[in-house]
Assembly symmetry: C2
Homo-oligomer: 234 residues x 2
């Protein structure tokens, strides 16, 4: 990996985790014109983007015919020229994804989707990244390869389930304290529903909160330290 | 034009006028993957979308190779599921556009672009619409043809220059009063910089405000009535 200046791969992946929505660009089935549409965004443990879409929608019909697509996520300034804001485009191919982990992680990020999660026309798709192009502000442009933005997170993927169970079973008080610090209501029973190298998703009563780790965490040992620190703080 | 239910062509065009940014989807020059990117959005008098982009950027490089593209604009709810928000995708072909009117209207909407308006790598492009697909909320989907969303606005296009001059020369006080009502500072000298069937853009000191007409206005006679009403109100 080359020395990185400006907008790093970690920062690109973390932006993709933070945003709740993105623009999906697919090839329109008739005529091949690129078709932009709005989607809610979630991520697999390693950061690969995940969407949950109905086959009644044009974008899904397009993906079924040709999986080539991109997702563009942005964080715009509240005022002034939007082009000073950061945005990341991940280009690649979408594949349908029936893994239980992906379903759980999507609903941890978008509990409002539980309302239609059982509809037979809906399915999860994961973007297999091929190229990432990002703009950190006016003229600050970076191009990255998939392994710079989405390095394999095998240990975190293997350890996610047991880390979630451990936190919810043995540190329920600390989890609710974390949720309150992020703006959650005290009377609700918050649970950790997803953990990845960049943070975790907490859910209660159809709401979701995201806690960002100060730095990316790629090993089970590092994760134990990070979670212990979070549990004892605040 | 068929009887319209739900999200009308007028409403789609008015949404495109209100938003300041949109996602452009182009065909990436290598590999043909649809590439989503962020752009500032303006409009010609009839509502056809206009962008101002640098040929150093990937999206422009893509448009130079293949003009097929779409623009997706959205108005998302402040809270709750983003998929309940309205969004409009205009598919078609972008063509470079050197008309002075288009330049003036773009800078009326985005005065911050005056900073780079003279850069030789920047140019204006107008989207020639072929198909419009809109979602007014969860599952409320409409498809429209160009003349339903962007009806010709010949009279308004012909009358825009003289209407702007008339308002700024003969009703300067009323224009500043309108600007103040929209949040403009009283001490600034506001001017009308663009007029179209859906409203007008006011500018002062590098800032821009948009005034929406209550209903679309397609004739010079209607416009005189609307502007007289605005000038005497507030």
């Amino acid at each position: 990996m080359a020395a990185q200046k400006g907008f790093t791969g970690d920062e690109m992946r973390r932006l993709l985790r933070r945003v709740r929505t993105a623009t999906l660009a697919t090839l329109n089935r008739e005529g091949g014109i690129p078709y932009g549409s709005l989607v809610n965004l979630a991520s697999d443990v390693d950061g690969r983007p995940v969407i949950f879409v109905s086959e009644l929608a044009w974008h899904t019909r397009n993906l079924l015919a040709d999986g080539r697509a991109s997702l563009m996520a942005s964080e715009l300034p509240a005022t002034g020229d939007a082009l000073t804001g950061a945005r990341v485009t991940v280009m690649g191919r979408f594949l349908p994804c029936a893994e239980e982990r992906v379903r759980r992680r999507y609903l941890a990020r978008h509990p409002e989707a539980n309302f239609y999660a059982g509809f037979p026309d809906f399915a999860y798709w994961r973007l297999e990244p091929e190229l990432i192009h990002a703009v950190a502000g006016f003229g600050r442009i970076e191009t990255r390869m998939p392994d710079e933005v989405f390095p394999p997170a095998r240990e975190m993927t293997e350890t996610e389930d047991s880390a979630i169970a451990h936190m919810n079973d043995d540190h329920a008080e600390a989890v609710s304290r974390l949720a309150r610090r992020l703006g959650g209501a005290a009377e609700e029973a918050w649970k950790i529903a997803a953990i990845d190298p960049d943070g975790c998703d907490l859910v209660a009563a159809g709401r979701s909160l995201r806690l960002e780790f100060p730095e990316p965490v790629f090993s089970a040992a590092q994760l134990r330290v990070s979670l212990a620190r979070l549990s004892s703080s605040g």
